[in-house]
Amino acid sequence: MRHPARTILAIALSLLVCGIVVFDLTIPDHPVRPDDASLLATTTGASNLVSAVYLGARLYDTLFEVLVFTVAVIGVCFYLSERPSTARATSIPESHVLQASAQILFPLILLLGLYLTLFGHISPGGGFSGGVVAASGLLLCVMSIGLDTVYRRLTGAGIERLEWALPMMIVAVCVLPMIFGRPLLSNFLPVGRAGHVFGSPSILLLNILIGLKVLIGSWMVLHAFIRHRGEI
């Protein structure tokens, strides 16, 4: 058992999910009909109705989407770690044009990712697309300063431990409403005025968690691919 902490996390996660599926029959029944759409904006506080559906009325679906993504990341990292790493992964044969443009573009791409994540409940976007945009920014960084440098800096920030903790936190946010006496998988934080950044704190929180999760997950997949299957 190489990573006892990870194993415990995985077992706890599985138990929690099984618990939700098997023992809880009080999953909120929010049928979403076209004429409910405007109602949904006021009940969740999210003016982007797509977010209101997939992080409000249909949070159950999204939870499993996140878990599917987690399992995919674990699978890729597990099977690729068995393969020998390519020796040339460290070399940086790219041009100066790329290096110079990466310096300008990287903060902008990160900012766009952040915007998509934080304003996902107001305008198009959300945690999934924001996380992927930020991950492609990281990829640009890898091309300009090299895989090892980026990897060292991110690992220094404890990014991988966070990767295992984030699914737990998302599940926790889904379960927490029970403590406040509300149905499971509902938005428990007080709803504000629709169209404001803090108008829908639950959806904002979920978007941030999902954005981080997708960013770190995509980075780990990319890192595994570059390290073990390709060169950059």
Partner: protein, 267 residues
Amino acid sequence: MISRAVLLVLLPIIAGISLFQRRRLTAVIGMGLFSLVLTANYLLHSAPDVAVTEAAIGAALVTVIYMLAIRRTGRLLVVADEVPGLLAFEADQPVGVEAEILGGFARRLGLDLSIQIVPYQDVEIVLLRGDADLGAGGLSATFDARLHRSREHLPTAWVHLCPEERFDPHLGDSPIAERCDYPGYFSDLVEAIQRNDRLEATLDMARFLAVSRIDLSGWRVTRLPSPQGYAFVAASRRKHLRDQLTDYIDELERSGALDDIIRRHLA
């Protein structure tokens, strides 16, 4: 309305075009373009959320992952030492008989030709290590039995070059006649002879022609019996690649293109 229809019709067209690309890089870029048009489609059909995700994943991330994949599999990696007339670089472009054959062969397979210059002796080592697909650059000697030799594309002969004072009349019988041999890169050898270093070397015809432009007074040149011609050598696990290359050279010869290439570069 019209723009929606145009963008929808564009989708199968772009998908079809990228499907029929021989070169993998073009196909991958075609798929990236497909994602971009799909993004515009989503946007015009009032699905901006899906459009954002499609742009981030389809056009950016997936394209890059495909590129990483074809960086490993989408090129024909050839190791060779430079030989004027056969395979040499002029203004960063490979020229010569072998360069032309390999270029056509890579196009046929839909791969990008990538030629790495290594010293003559290292060609065999790199191929045995499996770090390259093909060896080229005037290979006429016998190689390790684990490597696969393609058919010959040009006859050659071997010449022994040694300083006058070290000449051995029984040279033809000695084992030195069984290998093409000189130290390091061919360009180093040319420089060494120009400096008049007193070294011995066994050269094939193309290399000897390049050397013979230097003043060779004081050197003894002996022609050795050699039964072989120039060929390419494929790495140990690339037997199928060798067969494909042999077929390609056969085809070139039948169509007369091979003679044409040889005449253009070695006339």
